[in-house]
Subunit: 270 residues, 2 copies
């Protein structure tokens, strides 16, 4: 192989500064890039034709075969290759023991226009989801359950944050994803004839009493506040996930998984 | 009220050093204590008669009514009360904006002898669960689903770590919990006649094909490696949670929630 690596050893190099800025939302917004760590994730990104702008390789990982193969593939798709000392890789990933490879990847536009509501799978809407670990975990579960996609509504956390990307375990690259306000979202789901089912403490039926076989969208509220009354009023069905008396509430990602797998169960896991 | 507070302002005070040591396993092991943050969690601990050794109150929170009420209650149950500047509270919680109250609580012995296998609820066994966020989240879900309890098997992460306590949202104080090796665990579940069902990629039936109405234990493996063959061989049933082709795997806490809620569904959520 004849790969061209830029070798950088200084933390004050502008490229390193730019890569380090991607840990924060400001840096991601300004550059349109985000970070993904580890060969498995980066391979998934390349397989789904996400554009890897830069591939960072640590000195200690550079000789490994799988790293060389990944670098070849990323380079073929137009990525710049940078080799750095392990401590610089760690400073980009904010970890003492960083992965051997880290990628700066171009964000995709998350316009609602790019996803069609007439899919056969179940849809998930997240209203003001604020925890990136929850968001990433929900993307991973949506991927496993073959959900049609995930719509981020109003003021959600950034799906391109390091924590969300990490928790998604690469499903960020696979799952249809859009971001919009509630009015546009509601018009969109109505245009597709999607029955909007929300999990809510105000539900009057259990989630297993809902008909998920019809075209459906599962709407989940904010971690602390749930859904506001004005949003619940727009839903077709409010359902309650059973809980024993005395318990407080389920974690958002857990509740989403329980709803999604109940819906998929009713569809015969097809 | 006439509460007696120790006022401490120095980070080098031995009491502060001890409290700060509880962030690490070594400190928790040496003292038998652990940290819980926030009034809601600490109230749950007191309500379940966990022994609060020390209640730390930040200067900015000290005048609030709910903090005073909590301090009174903790003091009545024998806690030492310490008031500190906000920056010291932050140094104990390792956060810039700590909660107004932090408690150092006495760990409970997690002996298997203290939990009886003949309960009516579903049991959860976690084999080498390594992620404290997963463990805490599973405790929270077990609490919501009225599970009989959670058994930590072999080399699991510490349920008293700050991250596990935080993710459990107080369910650590409510859920029956024990820690043991596999041999003792297996003898224990057999003595209670518990059908041991593991989620496994080697499962030959879907999780909805399992009879969870009989006395049952759900066994979940390690985040990366799952269950070793020798452990799977001891199970009564290996089942598979359906996943679409191409997806990798579910997060451990998500898979546990899906198993548990399927089991509880079969029992009519009773």
């Amino acid at each position: 192989m004849n790969l061209s690596f830029d070798h950088i050893t200084s933390a004050s190099n502008p490229s390193i500064k730019l890569l380090r800025s991607l840990e924060r939302k400001k840096g991601r917004n300004e550059t349109g890039l985000f970070l993904a760590e580890g060969a498995r994730l980066i391979e998934q990104a390349l397989a789904q034709n996400w554009q890897v702008e830069t591939l960072i390789i640590s000195n200690s990982g550079a000789e490994r075969d799988y790293v060389q193969a990944l670098a070849k593939r990323a380079s073929d798709q137009g990525a710049r290759l940078i080799q750095v000392p392990d401590r610089l890789a760690g400073s980009i990933a904010r970890k003492d023991n960083p992965q051997a490879v880290i990628a700066a990847i171009k964000q995709r536009d998350l316009a609602l226009d790019d996803v069609s509501p007439d899919a056969t799978g179940l849809w998930i809407g997240l209203y003001e989801c604020r925890d990136p670990g929850n968001l990433g975990t929900i993307l991973r579960t949506a991927d496993c359950a073959g959900a049609a996609g995930v719509i981020l509504i109003e003021n959600c956390c950034d799906p391109f944050s390091v924590e969300a990307v990490r928790a998604s375990m690469g499903s960020l690259f696979d799952v249809a994803l859009a971001r919009t306000d509630f009015a546009a979202f509601n018009a969109w789901r109505k245009s597709g004839g999607l029955n909007m089912v929300a999990a809510s403490v105000n539900g009057d039926t259990s989630h297993i009493g809902v008909d998920f076989v019809q075209p459906s969208l599962i709407l989940m509220g904010n971690e602390q506040a749930g859904l506001p009354p004005s949003i619940e009023a727009e839903c077709d069905t409010l359902c309650l996930i059973p809980m024993r008396g005395g318990a407080d509430s389920l974690n958002l990602a857990q509740a989403t998984a329980i709803m999604l797998y109940e819906g998929w169960r009713q569809r015969g896991f097809a």
